[in-house]
Amino acid sequence: MSDVRGHSLDLKGIGHTFGATVALDEIDLTVAAGELIALLGPSGCGKTTMLQIIAGFLRPSRGEVRFDGARVEHIPANRRRIGMVFQNYALFPHLTVFENVAYGLRARKRPNAEVAAKVEQMLSLAQMAAFARRLPGELSGGQQQRVALARALAIDPGLVLLDEPFSALDKNLRLDMQIEIKTLLKTFGVTSIIVTHDQEEALSMADRIVVLNKGRIEQIDSPDALYDRPASLFISSFIGHTNLLRGTVTETDRVLLDAGPEIDLGRSALRRRGTPVTISVRPENIAFGAERPGAIPVTIRATVPLGAVSVTEGVTASGEPVKISQARAAGIAKAQAGETAWLAISDVSRVSIFSTPIDDVSKHQQRSV
């Protein structure tokens, strides 16, 4: 890793409204210089608004934006020293690859010799030196993306913003480009913010992930922590796959599942007896077992082989679907559709417990009547 040369970024109490719609509310975020952050959320969560505020295309209704501690809300986008990579790359179609990368330097009126040297350096970094004379329309999606990144980095930005940068790429190419671009950004040592609705993209790219939902930050954490200790029901189902099982707290450390058994959490549920809760268990944290107290009975629906793992779906007596993910070893007998199987939670410490949302409780109670 080379030296860090990016800005640090602070957002404080950022709020933004479009007419009567609240797009962002009370956003606080601190990004260290050189860090790679992902803004993750479903469409309409406010992540694009946040990006435009950081870039300076939009002035926030409330709050402060600071680069290296200095406020920048009044500075227009063209004087913020930000490298943008757009979803459709937004390469200038009438300019060659060389002129696209040179654009920011020419806007800064750098001498020709310096422009040429810098552009060549950026193009070889992005492995696009051979394509300098081509027009963007003559390049593949991955090549266009490399040029877009080279163009953004050529101005020595303090901050690089990437807006859904991989969504236009083939699925096969995506992981390769994610690794390549992450390496490039890290080598460059620039602070980067990537906006995405794709959790795999966020997990593979970012040092920390900011999960946005309905204009608010739900959780800021490392990819592993987000997966293992989701702060809310929304995150536990948004990041990776999970099984949500409803139940009721019976003792401080026990939950009676609607699916049948009472399970021992091995720790306090931190809720009063009688509270309706939803527990989240990852598919790889469930295994087939024997009939015994605490095992969950399910009726098998189907088994799907997915390369390295096979995923079996079953349904509990209470009608809740459960997915079980197993390493696809030769010895394991395939569960047949229609059979009854007994499931055991492998590691209760990795089970997350959430209060069941109110509207879910009422729906649930209606059903059980």
Binding site: N88, L91, F92, H94, L95, G104, A107
Partner: protein, 285 residues
Amino acid sequence: MTPASTSASRQLLPVVPLAALFFAAFVLPLVALVAISLFRTPQFAELSLAQYLRFLSDPFSIKVLTDTLWLGAEVALATLILAYPLALVYVASGPFMRTLITFLIMLPLLTSTVVRTFAWIVILGRDGIVNSAMLSLGLWQAPARLLYTWEGMVLALTQIQLPLMALPVINSLLRLDGNLTRAAEGLGASRARIFITVILPLTLPGAIAGWLLVFAAAATAFITQTLVGGGRIILMPSYIYQQAVGVQDWPFSAALSLIFTLAVTGIVFAIGALSRRYVRGVDAA
């Protein structure tokens, strides 16, 4: 006749009336025009190329042609300069302003050219709005001659032909990807630089289309040229009229018509071909 060609001719049946009209009202007169232009005298005696040689050896006639083409070019340039700010405002506006601007642009097209031209006579005349205002404000001592001048003609034609330029320019600006201007802005470009390096080259097909439309329309605008020019400025349309109706020299006016038509269409095709060849990376509008 084979069954296939029978069905093909059946398919063409609906266009027969239009084709007949086109043939009778355009092709036949054009053939007649070519035929008439080949007579040596106004009495239709003797076939020769004399009328064309007469045009080419007459500096006055050539000056009339170049003045007319120049007028078209000048008006087209003036509308181009006015259309871009208008189009930029349009694209940046909300739905209400857009409707209003569209209405204002379309409005002149809903009135006849004669009415629009007379409006300019009222504005520019010796006792017109401009002169009365300037005199009563004491800014001018004597009424200025605005009507029957080259500048007056350019001004009136610019206003009258503006829709032909504004609509294609707005259209190509609307199709410009907003991320391109945002990318340029993010890379540190000033608004002027964004306009010159991104917006202008990428909307060039629309601008060229508009330029050609206005050029052809302004060069051939008989009514406006005659009324605002007032007969003091001789341009091709009025020259042809004068030769045909005044002097009754049909062969010469036929030759003038053909030369003028060829000159205008030649320029339109040449610029169209050049722009297709040199405007790179941009979808032709």
